[in-house]
Symmetry: none
């Protein structure tokens, strides 16, 4: 029988074709017309983990997009490891900025370009292939293993808040490895010790029953765009602090040690400015850019619209204006409590002459902080030091992986990031890609890590 290393080497051409197949499924969880594609992706994943040799493969309903579960539990006395990932992807607009269509994966320069290539289909296929190599090679895994792949990560995992506590027995494990994440660079590993949480609301401001002639009515009827702009402007002060009452109440301040650790991670502000093509960085006064994104909460308008948006002129006084807002939260903020603060703020800051309605969005994630000496991360550190020949950076992420706090709260298990995406790969942006070298390297790394966890 081949070793897992031989098996991996031999089957790379097939694995590559499978990756392209997986990337062709437009499993955009945010757009309801794509619900069937998310389901199709779940079926593709279920078939793929079954082919890898996993057992008890199930597509489980959640009330929203489904999850895929599978296990292999034949290592008595060994720890139980749950591997997490997601098969849904972000929307693709603006489509015109893509070099090739986002669901026609294109391999060039050692990279595969497609929506979801890095986030997270490429990364989540990696441990499936590693498990296949061990099961078809040695015929067994060194640990008890569960796969738990979801189809709603990109919309904030709205149903998992109920699903995970309802399936505590099924998902019970000693630790979680997440395939949704990455390393610092091609040569520098990282250990993820914190994630921001999140929540969101949509604001609708209404004035008159229909659009009005701006000559006949302009000046005597409140313009809902003006009202919405005033509401949005009231949410930050000129120094970038959030002005919503109560918003910061539960925020743990950054300790001196936190700030020292963050400062150890290299950061080139002028390179960032150049790469983003912004005139300057801008954020909450009193914090470095890293501290702003890793250790401080945000309130961000993700989209705004109202009135006439086409070419030319239409002298209309619009009847409605809309905004979508999401917040990134840090420990110990509670997303529900922050939504309450937003509701109260909009109520208190709505100008006269309009009505404003605030609807909570289905995005509610607790922030997440891992103790540094946590055993999963310790094992991951050892493997990374072997692979890269250097110590990992201990970093936080400004993003949210809601499921990490759910695993922690309901399964008592911390999540160790073990994935090989790199920040320049355009997750959520046009021309997303994944390095084929990461795809290959990750497979062996997962085998090594599982062996170490089974020792």
């Amino acid at each position: 029988m081949p070793t897992w290393g031989q098996y991996l080497e031999e089957h790379q051409p097939r694995f590559m074709e499978e990756l392209l197949d997986f990337l062709r499924i437009p499993s955009i969880s945010a757009i309801s017309a794509h619900a069937g594609d998310v389901q199709q992706a779940a079926e593709w994943v279920a078939a793929r983990v079954m082919a890898a040799g996993m057992e008890h493969v199930q597509i489980l309903p959640t009330g929203g997009h489904p999850v895929v579960y599978a296990d292999w539990l034949h290592a008595p006395g060994k720890p139980t490891v749950l591997i997490y990932g997601h098969f849904d992807v972000q929307p693709v607009d603006p489509l015109n900025l893509w070099t090739k269509p986002p669901f026609e994966p294109d391999v060039r320069d050692g990279k595969v370009y497609a929506r979801g290539a890095s986030d997270d289909k490429g990364n989540m296929l990696v441990p499936i292939l590693a498990v296949e190599a061990m099961l078809k090679g040695a015929g067994a895994l060194p640990v008890n293993l569960k796969f738990f792949f979801e189809g709603q990560e990109e919309i904030g995992s709205p149903q998992l808040g109920e699903f995970i506590p309802q399936h505590k027995e099924l998902l019970a494990c000693d630790m979680v490895l997440s395939s949704d994440g990455g390393q610092w660079s091609e040569t520098q590993p990282l250990i993820l010790v914190g994630l921001r949480g999140g929540c969101g609301v949509q604001i609708t401001v209404k004035a008159a029953r229909a659009d009005l002639h701006s000559g006949m009515y302009g000046g005597m009827v409140q313009n809902p765009i003006h009202a919405l702009a005033a509401i949005i402007a009231s949410m930050h002060d000129a120094d970038g602090h959030i002005s919503v009452a109560g918003f910061y109440d539960d925020v743990l301040p950054l300790s001196e040690l936190d700030r020292e650790r963050i400062a150890k991670v290299p950061y080139d502000e002028s390179a960032e400015i150049e790469s983003l093509e912004v005139p300057a960085l801008f954020g909450e006064a009193g914090y470095t850019a890293r501290e702003q994104t890793w250790g401080r909460p945000t309130l961000e308008v993700n989209g705004i619209w109202g009135g006439f948006q086409s070419e030319g002129i239409k002298t209309v006084l619009p009847s409605e204006a809309h905004a979508k807002i999401t917040c990134r939260l840090v420990a110990d903020q509670d997303p529900s409590r922050v939504v309450e603060c937003l509701l109260a703020h909009v109520k208190a800051n709505t100008p006269p002459g309009v009505t404003a309605t605030v609807t909570p969005l289905a995005f509610r994630a607790f922030p997440y902080l891992v103790p540094e000496e946590e055993p999963g991360n310790a094992a991951v550190r050892e493997v990374l030091v072997e692979m890269y020949g250097k110590e990992p950076f201990y970093v936080r992420s400004g993003g949210s992986i809601p499921v990490c706090s759910l695993f922690q709260r309901h399964l008592g298990a911390y999540t160790a990031n073990f994935a090989f995406g790199i920040e320049d790969e355009g997750a959520h942006s046009p021309d997303e890609f994944f390095r084929l070298s990461s795809f290959r390297k990750g497979q062996g790394a997962y085998c090594t890590l599982l062996e170490r966890l089974g020792r």
Copy 2:
């Protein structure tokens, strides 16, 4: 020879047939497929004014839809009066809301129903018939007269801004009478003493070169929607005053007499609130709703857009945000000067971390205000008082009729509204109609007014 009164009485059946003929021409200026119909209407008008006895009849090209000119200049020592109107009409959609086809005029209940019946074909035929009655009756007019009828009013008279100054000699006159307008009601006359002007800009705010992940970058990169909201919010204070430096510099304050005249025009605020379905009216503090729309300038965002606007959630930090803004201006504001103020304001109020670009829009109309003692309006007032047995309301309009300020600026002539449409006649809407009583009454009224002007 008959008096003009006898002539009018005798020829009403023919005039009625001619009105129906004129209404059958689908001269929709906004739809390029109807350009030939606009031309046909110009030819119909040219033939009709020639038949009325006018001289030097010409269809003149403008680069767009044509104008029709004619004159009768045999009253030495008498004033020269230019009568204005337009033979183009609005589009007809939604067609299914018309009782009869819009270009098959239908007479019922003392009204003629057709597109253009009131705005402006019925109204503009009236002075042609009055002139015919005087020329065929007395054989002469009491004043020197010019007709100037255009075919592009419903699309904002785009070519007249060049045409009128280029034809100053041809159009030279002491006053203009406009057949495009109307009276307050069947029993209440009005005098139009002001129109608002306008100008506009589009604002584009840019941050990073592409949309960013709000988790990875949120907190350290300025959000262009926040920046745009701050810019928009900076343009008004909480009392509805415009906060753009220099904006009010040239605004003529409303005099006590202005305010008295405006207050004399009946206005039911609670009926307005109910009809608009707004929680309350809102406008610049210190002014009534009528004063706000008739006598004060506005700055109105007509549309705004940026970032994610579809169903669901996309936690994006957008790269761009956009707004279209138009202002309504009052005397003596200069649209170009106001655009300069907007440019300077945006420059001074752009938050850090973004760039803002301001592009002027192709909307530039001077405001228009008639001195109360202007001779044309004084003569019109006398005729209206005789006809209706009561003083007219002195009203302004919040809208813009660019040609009035063009006549004033280039010919030095004020325009007196002398027309008999009524607001309920559905100009721009389905089932537009014109009262036959107004059609008949207007003909004699024009004869009376011309006699008075010739005295």
